[in-house]
């Protein structure tokens, strides 16, 4: 199966730079699946789960907004932050979610937008943390 190059760049680190089979992005208008030979294009990303499919199976990554560009079989994702499941502390994410929800209920208008962002981010983190990188252990076995 032909592959294409996926690069996920955050300000602190180049998160991913490898050949993959397929990637599924969460764009502003919904999920967007990309296979080799995809038409050139650009998309704005939403807070969401990015799914990478390659030989070793499926991996999920939490991506918090940003921009994706597809050109000549290279997919570049620029984002302010991205996290692997094992980088997420699930209980912290749940705590953040609870406190942000509580604050939203008590209506602090100035903070409302910030809390809404926290809620969205926490939901993504919780979802991603449910999919730990199983293939890591299988790779070491193989």
């Amino acid at each position: 199966m032909s592959k294409f190059r996926l690069r996920i760049i955050t300000p602190d680190v180049i998160k991913v730079d490898e050949e993959v089979d397929m990637v599924i992005l969460r764009s502003m208008t919904g999920d967007m699946g990309i296979l080799p030979g995809h038409e050139a294009g650009s998309a704005v990303l939403d807070y969401g789960v990015l799914r990478i499919l390659d030989d070793s199976g499926e991996r999920r990554l939490a991506v918090y907004g940003g921009v994706a560009e597809i050109r000549n079989d290279v997919v570049t994702v620029l984002t302010s932050a991205a996290e692997w499941p094992d980088e997420i502390n699930r209980s912290d994410a749940e705590e953040d979610l609870d406190s942000a929800k509580k604050r939203l209920e008590s209506h602090h208008d100035a903070m409302e937008l910030k809390d809404q962002v926290t809620v969205r981010r926490s939901l993504v983190r919780i979802e991603v943390s449910a999919y730990p990188l199983l293939n890591k252990s299988s790779e070491s076995k193989g």
């Binding site: 502003m28 050139a40 650009s42 998309a43 704005v44 921009v67 570049t76 620029l78």
Partner: protein
Amino acid sequence: MPSMKFIKRRITSVKNTQQIMKAMNMVAASKLQKAKKRLDTVRPLSLESMRIIKNASLCEGASESVFVTKREVKNTAYVVISGDRGLCGSYNANITKEALASMNEGKNEKIISVGVKSWEFFKRRRKNVMQQRYVGLSDTVYYEDAEHICNYLIRQYIAGEIDEAYIAYTHFETTLSHVPLVVKVLPIEGDPEQTFDNTEFDPDIAAFLEQAVPACLSMFIYGTLAESSVCEQAARMISMDSANHNAEEIIEDLTLMFNRKRQGIITQEINEIVSGANALQ
């Protein structure tokens, strides 16, 4: 000729200064290594982000976006990135001079200073320095700071307070060569020579630009902050190194002078003894 006591005191004083320079040199060297490492990851991000929005700005329908449309220029914003502290050779002077030269084209400028040195420089020249200023970014650059600067620029731009925005920063080439640059970031101007094929945008070009420009611009600003920070540390390291050499030269000269003086005194004493003995005969 100065007295021996005086020369001795000068040697000690130069030696003390030299020790400080050596320490500063080492601190700058370790900070340079760290900053260089960061630049390696930041540079692709910064370049890619600018390329994406520049390409998008050339696409059909992009010219209607507020970020691409050229307006009549009344006010121009300058983000001038300098260091917070001196003792780094001509680093601060180079970038502020470059920015000043670009301003002197008769524009009505608003200056957003990053770093104490650029703030002082433009304040002294009675330029229109904005209240909004940033300090403490030259050592540790955080992405949030870049985002903050970018949001400020974009708010001002949308409100019509500014019609153009430039960023003045120092581009890092090698440890010995740094290039001060003034780059136009708003409105976005694509490179018309670059051709590319049919690109589709999700959801559409207008919405893409609206979302992508703030995100990409803050990444670009983060890149310029990182570049400037590397240059500052490199400039400090080099100037401390040459200061160290100069101190060594001064110490050498002073030691020579000290020895000559001592020799002179001894010769004089011998002369006195000999002539005293001769007089007794």
